[in-house]
Amino acid sequence: MPNLDNIQKVLIIGGGPTEIGHETELDSATVQIITSFKKHGVRTLIIDNNPFSVALEEIQPTNMYVQAVTTANVRHIIEKDRPDAILPTLGGLLGIRIAQELVENGDLANFDVRLLGMPTTTLQQINNPADLNATLKEIHEPVIEAQVVGTLDEARGLVEKIGFPLIVKPVAPRLDTNRTVCDNVDDMFNALTQGFQQSRFDQCTLERSVIGYKEIEMVAVRDVADTEVLIAGLENVDTIGIHSGDSILVTPPQTLNDREYQDLRDATFRIATELGIVGVLHLHFALNPANQHFYVTKIAPYFSRGVALAARTTGYPIALVNGALLLGQKLVDVKLPSQYVKQTAIMEPTIDHVSVRIPIWPFQEVPDADQHLNTVMKAVGSTVGVGRSVEEAMLKAVRSSQFSPRDVLPSVSNLTDGEMIRQLIHPLANRILVLIEALRRGYAPEELSELTKIDNYYFVKLRHLLTIEKEIQDNPLDVAILKRARYYGFGDGMIARIWQTDTATIRHLSAQAKITPTYKMIEPTAGEFPENLSGYYSTFEYENESQPLGDRTALVLGRGGNQLGPNSAAEYFTTEMLKQLKRAGYHTILMNTNPNAVGVAPEFTEKQYVDPIQLGDVLNVIQVEHPDIVIVPGNRHYLTRELGKLPINLHVLPPDQETGEPAPEMATIGVSLFVHKQQKIAVGVMDMIAPGINKSLAQVTAFRMPAELPKAKRVNLVEQAKEAVSERQVTGMIQVLFAPKSDDSQQLVVVGVRPTRLTEMAFLSKVTGVNWVRMLTRQHIGTLDEGELAKISIDLNSTRVALMNAAFPFRQLHVLNRPGTTDQEVGATIAFGSSEALTLTNLSDTSELDQIINRTI
């Protein structure tokens, strides 16, 4: 299918490492856009240095530039490979900025490269609030008047006109930073001083604060013929003042009347038309609940978490459709895979369920960060609950966001009244639990609404959940109550805790009383058409729509929302594993609540269940699907133990990182071996680099392959490693850790053996060109061929140097920049080169590592 604009080669600007503000949703969208481009005969080039990128696995190595995502590097690729077009909308704000620089310095024009997604004029406006506001004013869209200032004096002059509270925002910030709410002149001066430094133009904007307004987001698509479809509206439960990334989000909006909703839809379309967007547009609005007036507060013509949520919750294939639109196709002409009803692309989604997204914050891992929720985003992930009532969706989302092994919600009943009120006004990460606690203590919904500016409706809903909880408490083992509890989203673990019994009893009672889950399809026509999509959620109603996939089925349990630690690597692992299972002839089913997950794309799984990954919910899915194998991630010990008691063919993948063998305090070299029966394949000898003063193993967050050792030494270490492995009954991808002997720093000795960490496994796969996740998966399902394994030959002495360096969220969390631990990683960057110098230039943030390496080696 040729595309209309005769585009044959597109360069995608990748998203770089996961960080606060964007996670795997960009990778997920990239994979689908590549699929769509491929179908249209377009060759995709991509630049990215995220070692956990699944998209990088989806394209030919010759089309892949594993380099830092910078303007200079993109320019180089353009010069060398001459793409017909570049696509910046998959690279977040960074992609937009790079594209703008390429426009400004004339590179796109000189090399005759087209910009996909929007006209260059729009690109410039997106990066310049004053221009953008002028355009919006022209089309009569209400904007909050932003005044650009370059000095404190200028700001002082404007204060009277704007009034406090006001918001200070750096113009074209170098990082994805913050808006600061200021209540007085001192606050404002502080914010401006910091903001001038962050701005590329030493400027800040001042604007009226709309704190307390409702924040509503709209996600739409538009084609070249100006046909526009609204995909979804997203309602922030928290009002303006808390970053939407830190707010609970509900879709479709529940507290807007139709007129308010349609007014925002109209505004969305006018803006999309005016800006000439082709593809996806994500807008934020501040809506004054008192008089229905609204302001446009953010315009994001690129992929984002909001877009991912809109796609996940409606079933509308935004990325696939977008791929076609970017190439000049019209919405009416977009052909979708056969599971979609014809013309799904051009039908405006309408849905018959509610989705709630709850953020996940990194404060357990970074306890010294300021935990107050404000205009600076701090969440690293999120988890979604889908249900047929707000209660059900909300409770499922809360259950998933707490990572309670036994599916019990933490209690905040020890808060003093004073502390609780303080937290209602100045919310912390456990916001939702405090809101519930306040209701529990008898505060009326109206009072709480007054205090928090959260719509009264949500308190009415939460209070309803407490009423049901009370009924559960008052009626132990009553099946009528059990039915009601399950209907409104209570988990088996929660009910078991209240009744002081175990989940087995709850399940037994449910089975006896025939309180069985019904699964509903997530599809964009609300039952009008027989869509045949693959996403389902549970509820307890009349009709079950999910039919078992049949023989040879694998149920894979995801890890839920993104957290700090090896999570984006785990996402990569899970996705690669799903691909291998499919290749081995399994029907694959994924259970996951992370709306940004890559693995939930239909490319990788035949079926997805968006339900809490908790014992009761997992058993419910098992009852419907009767999978041949169930795969549990290694960090779910309770779940693994409980499922292990049942006649289920259970595998733990990605492997449990805690083996019982105590980890050594430190290590400088890691030798990875793939152990299968009698075979021990040497995968790599790498330097384990702890960038800080503290050299303990938890601080090892950078890696170099091959290790800087004489060749003979490497061979020797491999032999020692094989011996160490032989002494232990271990299989799979194993890492043998070495450290200098205490009395002789020249001699390296074995200090420990552990499963290779997920981050390092991804690194080893990228460096050796062998997909080790594939090997590990095949080992588990018994399809690993020893002959094939024996043929793998890895050059342990390659002259090509590879480096991987962890990325940390410290800057966004405003905590002291310091060497982080493995538990604090948010993502990583990877680089290759023939010499170390070259390699280092390709890592995103190397200053620190640079120093360390120069100092230590």
Partner: protein, 359 residues
């Protein structure tokens, strides 16, 4: 809350919890797929004698508000929903959906697998009668099966007497077949001086008022049940005065100009279908609520031009007269509830009236 049942003429019964009025009612069971706008829907007279299943699962969230009435006296026969919240958000914090339905003797039933019902009615079994009852016994089914639904819906909901909605602009006569207020709001926004006439008004009645334009409103039921009189009126008026017709009005306009109608296998109430505006070739969305459609083949091309078409089911969505400034749309151009992008049709109507004055 009391346990109640929705029973259908195919013998199925669904248990739920009653809200609103405790009345036992019967009606044609239809589904509404709009994302929001339950108040506009329940008060729209096109739902006279119908029991509405809502696809939006959470209902009642914003209570009942002064600017969301499509009629003051709703005559729908019931609401079938998954979840209802008893809440009020208006300035007096008064009037929840529950209270509103009680006041108007309309029963609601919640806790129903509405998705199942919508799939069943839309994808499988087609339309059927149903009742909201206290007990789903043989007697209830007998009653349901014996129920004969009236075909005099327009008579029952349209105004029997003329009334004015004064303003200072164009003089517009609205013929009320079950008028939704969104139409009046659009005319008010354009300063039209409106007189609403009963649907039985003759051409003479209309012309006596010397209007700049005439608008045929939306309404419930079948246009085939209204007789020849109204078609004569349309034929006579359209030759003299700019005319704009919506919904049932559109169907009558088509009949008056020789086109035929067909009954859809299942009524469609929603706003997700793309509608092609043929003259500009662009695509819009609008709330549609129809049980009948103009048969495309029956259109006399010497008299009528098709202006809008539904790209999903291919139905004719708009017509224009070749010789007169008269046009019509099947969908609800006032956008209450639903998308607003077809509101410019009212501007078109204004232009037609201005052109006539000037010409």
């Amino acid at each position: 809350m009391a346990k109640r049942y929705l029973i259908l003429e195919d013998g199925s019964a669904y248990a739920g919890e009653g809200f609103g009025a405790g009345a036992t009612t019967s009606g044609e069971v239809i589904s509404n797929l709009n994302l929001l706008g339950y108040q506009e829907t329940i008060t729209d007279q096109i739902y006279h004698n119908q029991i509405i299943i809502f696809a939006q699962p959470a209902i009642g969230n914003v209570g009942i508000n002064h600017d969301s009435y499509e009629s003051i006296l709703p005559t729908a026969k019931g609401m079938v929903v998954r979840d209802v919240t008893n809440i009020s958000t208006n300035r007096l914090s008064r009037l929840s959906l529950d209270e509103f339905l009680q006041q108007h003797n309309i029963p609601g039933i919640s806790g129903i697998d509405t998705r199942h019902l919508i799939r069943k009615l839309r994808q499988e079994d087609g339309p059927m009668k149903g009742s909201i009852v206290d007990v789903a016994d043989a007697h209830a089914f007998d009653q349901l099966n014996a129920t004969v639904l009236t075909n005099r819906q327009v008579d029952q909901v349209a105004t029997p007497k003329p009334y004015p909605n004064p303003d200072t602009g164009k003089n517009v006569v609205v013929i009320d077949f079950g008028l939704k207020h969104g139409i009046l709001r659009q005319l008010s926004e354009r300063r039209c001086n409106v007189t609403v006439l009963p649907w039985t008004a003759s051409a003479q009645d209309v012309l006596n008022l010397d209007p700049d334009g005439v608008l045929l409103s939306t309404g419930p039921g079948s246009p085939l049940d209204l007789g020849e009189g109204v078609l004569d009126m349309i034929r006579e008026v359209q030759a003299e005065i700019p005319l704009f017709a919506i919904g049932l009005g559109h169907e009558l306009f088509a009949l008056a100009n020789g086109a035929e109608l067909t009954m859809l296998p299942v009524e469609y109430h929603g706003s997700s279908h793309p509608i092609r505006r043929i003259i500009t070739n662009d695509i819009i969305y609008a709330t549609q609520g129809q049980g009948y459609a103009v048969v495309a083949k029956s259109i006399d091309r010497d008299r009528l031009i098709t202006t809008y078409v539904d790209l999903i089911n291919g139905t004719v969505q708009g017509l224009r007269h070749r010789d007169f400034p008269a046009f019509s749309v099947q969908f609800f151009a006032d956008g209450a509830p639903g998308p607003h992008e077809s509101r410019d049709l009212f501007d078109e109507f204004m232009e037609a009236m201005t052109a006539r004055r000037e010409g």
